[in-house]
């Protein structure tokens, strides 16, 4: 069994979970060689082939902290030695081409480890699911690897795994992705299967029924976890009946309704070259990567019907903030969240937003300082500002023993409010910016991380120049920007509260702070609508 002091949860970015997920990653009860080492992450990415040089990351970081490490200089044992002169860092440069069929292909070369990652991104995911068929994008993506015109599910798994490769397909918000990861030497044979599953899935009836049953079981297990329930409820509370409010996986009722023709229609409508992006990165020559892209995706026909229109931004429901308690008497811990609408990825306030969020979140962020470090109330408290094509959620959350749930809810709320009420001192703000920059660099460090970050920029139509401006943009955010952003975009007046746990342990205390609370027994919870209750009278 391995137990960690903490986990490094990723903040912000397009694919961040609605709720911090340190629980699942950091507490790895059983030690296994595979799992033990999976949370490694180190410094900035670098490529010997890179053509772009970024201003020194370490120099900037040093400037942030010189006050700390210089000044006093008594005996060497009593004070930390100061940092040496920093070295500069380079980020790899993405190259791109658009094929004749409209497929956008992006390649990033990086030497060091003989691994390659590839991602085929479809520009639509769960947000286009009709409400009565929630989970359709998810099921479509899951079925891609379950049979094509020339391979059965078993043959696909056999062929990919014989190469030591992994092939995963999943739908998220705004996108569906098929991801491939393997040794560089195995790329060519894997690409053929990769292309086959994207282009020629057959959606066989027996596979649909098998997957339906598995998805229902997965949902049953997920809904045994207070953190998962909290994530689903928070989404409904923030977005109401709008697309981001429904569960990506679907509900037992919608999963039961999805039929073969829905899946085939979804695939036909959205899985097309002019609605897709292919990203290949790692130890590979860019010319070879473009050649493989042309070879396996060049003859992918663009349908004659027009591209599906991207839905206009939908304003989240604004029925006023709610306080929702899901009463789960057997919960071993309570999951507590405060949540509201945040910003979209293209928002001009994006960098102000991620820096603001970093003041709250991360190990030394205010939430963890107040809730874990000062009071010992949780293993970890944090927040995510999940930026999507349309306005995504801002969620601050922690898990705590049932009896301290009300206290944790007010601490979360208090910290969000405090951000707007006074400027963050520079001595606190500068280190938080260093955290944002360090995380950004580390996210580019592995082939899979690099591909996923570049893919996310491409998905949201952000220029790759943003990589080069990233450090400057983060550094340019001031204390008054943070205060203004908090006041206008994260206003605590619009914030909802969600607690999943044993209500009798915290409800009396919670009622003192919030007179109007919706208490929903776990057995009565209905994720199909914003009402959240099976029986509106109950």
């Amino acid at each position: 069994m391995k137990t960690s002091k903490r986990n490094n949860s990723l903040e912000c970015g397009g694919q961040a979970p609605l709720w911090p997920t340190f629980a699942n990653k950091a507490i790895n009860l059983h030690r296994t060689s595979e799992r033990q080492f999976d949370q490694s992450a180190a410094g900035p990415a670098h490529s010997k082939e890179a053509k772009l040089t970024i201003r020194s990351l370490t120099l900037l970081i040093c400037l942030f902290t010189c006050g700390f490490v210089s000044g006093q200089a008594p005996a060497p044992q009593a004070t930390p030695p100061p940092p040496a002169t920093p070295r500069s860092v380079q980020f790899p440069k993405p190259l791109e081409k658009t094929l004749a069929n409209g497929l956008r292909v992006i390649v990033i070369e990086r030497r060091g480890t003989p691994l390659v990652a590839a991602q085929l991104i479809i520009r639509n995911g769960g947000e286009v699911d009709p409400p009565e068929l929630a989970g359709l994008a998810n099921m479509t993506a899951d079925l891609l690897t379950k049979g094509t015109e020339k391979r059965t599910a078993t043959q696909i798994a056999e062929a990919i795994e014989a190469l030591g490769a992994s092939l995963d397909s999943a739908a998220r918000w705004d996108a569906s992705r098929v991801s491939l990861n393997m040794m560089s030497s195995k790329l060519a044979p894997a690409m053929e299967i990769f292309s086959d599953v994207v282009r020629h899935p057959t959606f066989k009836e027996d596979e649909i029924e098998r997957l339906r049953q598995q998805t229902l079981d997965d949902l049953t297990v997920e809904l045994g976890d207070p953190g998962s329930i909290g994530r689903y409820v928070a989404a409904r509370v923030v977005f109401g009946d709008a697309p981001y409010g429904q569960p990506l996986i679907g509900t037992p009722q919608t999963i039961a309704r999805i039929a073969k023709q829905d899946l085939a229609r979804f695939h036909h409508k959205y899985y097309r070259p002019d609605n897709a992006i292919l990203v290949i990165g790692g130890e590979i020559k860019s010319a070879d990567a473009f050649k493989l892209a042309q070879q396996y995706f060049g003859d992918w026909k663009k349908p004659s019907d027009p591209l599906p229109a991207v839905s206009p931004p939908k304003a989240p429901a604004s029925a006023g903030p709610r306080v929702v308690v899901v009463d789960k008497p057997d919960a071993g811990q309570a999951a507590v969240a405060v949540a509201r609408a945040g910003i979209d990825r293209a928002d001009a306030d994006y960098f102000r937003g991620i820096v603001t969020n970093s003041v709250l979140s991360g190990y030394s962020g205010r939430l963890n300082q107040e809730i874990r470090i000062k009071r010992g109330l949780s293993y970890g408290a944090g927040s995510t500002l999940d930026t999507r094509r349309n306005v995504g959620p801002f969620v601050a959350s922690a898990q705590t023993k049932n009896t301290s749930a009300a206290q944790v809810a007010s601490l979360l709320l208090e910290e969000v409010k405090r951000l707007a009420s006074a400027p963050v001192p520079d001595i606190e703000l500068n280190p938080r910016k260093a955290v944002v920059i360090g995380n950004f660099a580390r996210n580019l460090e592995t082939a899979a991380g690099l591909v996923s970050q570049i893919g996310s920029l491409a998905l949201y139509g952000i220029s790759f120049d943003e990589i080069n401006r990233y450090i400057t943009n983060v550094q340019g955010v001031t204390a008054s920007d943070v205060q203004r952003f908090s006041g206008s975009r994260l206003d605590a007046k619009g914030i909802n509260i969600v607690i999943v746990g044993n209500a009798s342990d915290f409800l009396p205390e919670l009622r003192k702070q919030f007179p109007t609370i919706e208490v929903i027994p776990a057995a009565e919870l209905d994720l199909n609508t914003a009402r959240l209750r099976k029986n509106p009278q109950g």
């Binding site: 391995k2 137990t3 960690s4 009860l29 410094g43 030497s185 044979p189």
Partner: protein
């Protein structure tokens, strides 16, 4: 030469050569060696380092050869609680100063405790290397944590217990697998411990634990990244070389876990069990043993990926399980190999057990094909490559070889051991360890499944456990 071409050639060679030959070609061409330096200071501290200037960062790890098997009596969870305390004050560092030196400069830190080791690690811009060496030496040479900080951190660990064991649906099953698999060896205490034992821990325990186990001759420093080796050696001498090696010998666990002689069965009724689950555990040799590699290959054949035997038989074809895993949890003193299944809805635990045992029997009764063996090796090599994409991952591989396997060179040589595993090796370890007498079976069921006569909670069949705590 691609893998496919190699396989086409194989027909020409004797069968025994097949897997060795194929994998040798593949792995030699793809797995970069970690070229490290090794030295031992006069005080017994071991130092391993490797220069990698691909990015201006450095990964620093200190491995202490102490884990939860060394928890004091009645203090289960203590080694891990102690790990948390190592982030509190020292003579010259305030509480959480390690975060100021790492997080605040764009780096990060963390630590983990397992049954055998406690590992602290940081990744920072490389110009901070000396600063971090100073800080690690500082917390090795003494802690000055006070009562309020100690109690607050103990509460954090208790929340970690709730978050890992009590809140998620199968957290308690994982806990039981660890706790019930060993009868005598201290591995029977789970690393996270218990709320009660954590409550009983004191500051005096902290002081005693530090002086007993946190000493240079029980520590291995691993540094990989951007640095000048000569300057690094000088810093190591300056900050770690001056520390004294205590005169007292290091205590080591000598208790042996007895062999199992008959199948044991436990049923646990949990309050939050969305779908029933089962676990089967088997004792195996420890990870230094040559059988470790065939056991890892067997686990990969059984449960890595959708072409694995358990996925195919239990999840895909029979649809008896929602999830199925085989885990080789091979430790320093004794190995554990366990299976856990969450059943598909409507299925009985007996169905899952029967299906799982049939798959184990198949792997015992018949040789795996060379294609299936090669697939498993390819998967294991690719996993290893992914781990080694970062300096921190490389340092974990190197530290693990040095501390847990007793020889840092194994970070480079174990791959050829993996390549040498034959179908016969896999069958031999299956026959040797996966016997009826060596099996513990845990049924993990919802309260609603409990027979009316035994409503007292906890396990049934405790009698069979012979008065264990």
């Amino acid at each position: 030469m691609t893998y496919q071409k190699v396989r086409a050639l194989l027909v020409l060679f004797a069968l025994v050569l097949v897997p060795i030959f194929a994998i040798n070609l593949m792995a030699q061409s793809s797995m970069p060696r970690i070229k490290f330096s090794e030295r031992t200071l006069a005080n017994g501290m071991r130092v391993l380092s490797a220069v990698d200037q691909s990015s201006p960062t450095v990964a620093i790890q200190v491995w202490y050869h102490v884990g939860s098997k060394d928890d004091p009596e009645q203090r289960s969870g203590f080694a891990h609680l102690f790990e948390h305390i190592m982030f509190k004050a020292t003579r010259n560092m305030k509480s959480e100063m390690m975060d100021r030196l790492t997080e605040d400069v764009g780096g990060f830190n963390n630590a983990f405790t397992n049954p055998d080791v406690t590992v602290y690690y940081e990744v920072v811009p490389s110009n901070y290397l000396e600063t971090l060496l100073w800080a690690e030496a500082e917390r090795l040479s003494g802690l000055t944590v006070d009562e309020p900080n100690f109690k607050s951190e103990r509460s954090v660990v208790q929340e970690e217990f709730r978050q890992g064991v009590l809140a998620p649906p199968y957290g308690m099953l994982d806990y039981l697998i660890e706790q019930q698999s060993f009868i005598t060896h201290p591995y029977k205490r789970s690393t996270i411990g218990s709320i009660e034992d954590l409550d009983a821990a004191t500051l005096e325990n902290v002081r005693a634990f530090h002086s007993t186990f946190y000493r240079p001759d029980n520590a291995t420093l691993v540094v990989i990244g951007d640095f000048d080796p000569k300057q690094f050696d000088a810093w190591v001498d300056k900050y770690f070389g001056i520390l004294k090696k205590p005169a007292l010998p290091l205590p080591r666990v000598t208790i042996k876990e007895p062999e199992r002689t008959a199948e044991r069965r436990i049923t646990h009724y949990g309050s939050n069990v969305p779908l029933p689950a089962i676990a089967l555990t088997y004792l195996t040799p420890p990870e230094k043993n040559p059988d470790a590699e065939p056991l890892r290959v067997a686990a990969t054949i059984l449960s890595q990926g959708e072409s694995s035997r358990l996925y195919r038989a239990l999840i895909y074809e029979q649809q008896v399980a929602q999830s199925a895993d085989a885990t080789p949890d091979l430790r320093e003193d004794a190995g554990l190999f366990y299976f856990n299944l969450v059943l598909a809805s409507g299925k009985k635990p007996e169905d899952g057990e029967r299906a799982l045992l049939a798959e184990i029997k198949k792997l015992r009764d018949a040789l795996v094909s060379s294609a299936e063996l090669d697939k498993a090796k390819n998967q294991l090599v690719t996993n290893e490559l992914r781990q080694r994409e970062t300096s921190n991952g490389k340092a974990l591989a190197l530290g693990s070889a040095a501390v847990l396997l007793g020889d840092p060179n194994r970070v480079n040589t174990d791959l050829s051991k993996l390549q040498a595993v034959t179908a016969a090796d896999v069958q031999r370890v299956m026959k040797k360890y996966f016997t009826d007498a060596n099996r513990l079976v845990i049924y993990y069921l919802p309260e609603s499944a409990k027979p009316a006569t035994t409503r007292s909670g906890g396990h049934e069949g405790e009698q069979a456990l012979g008065g264990r705590k």
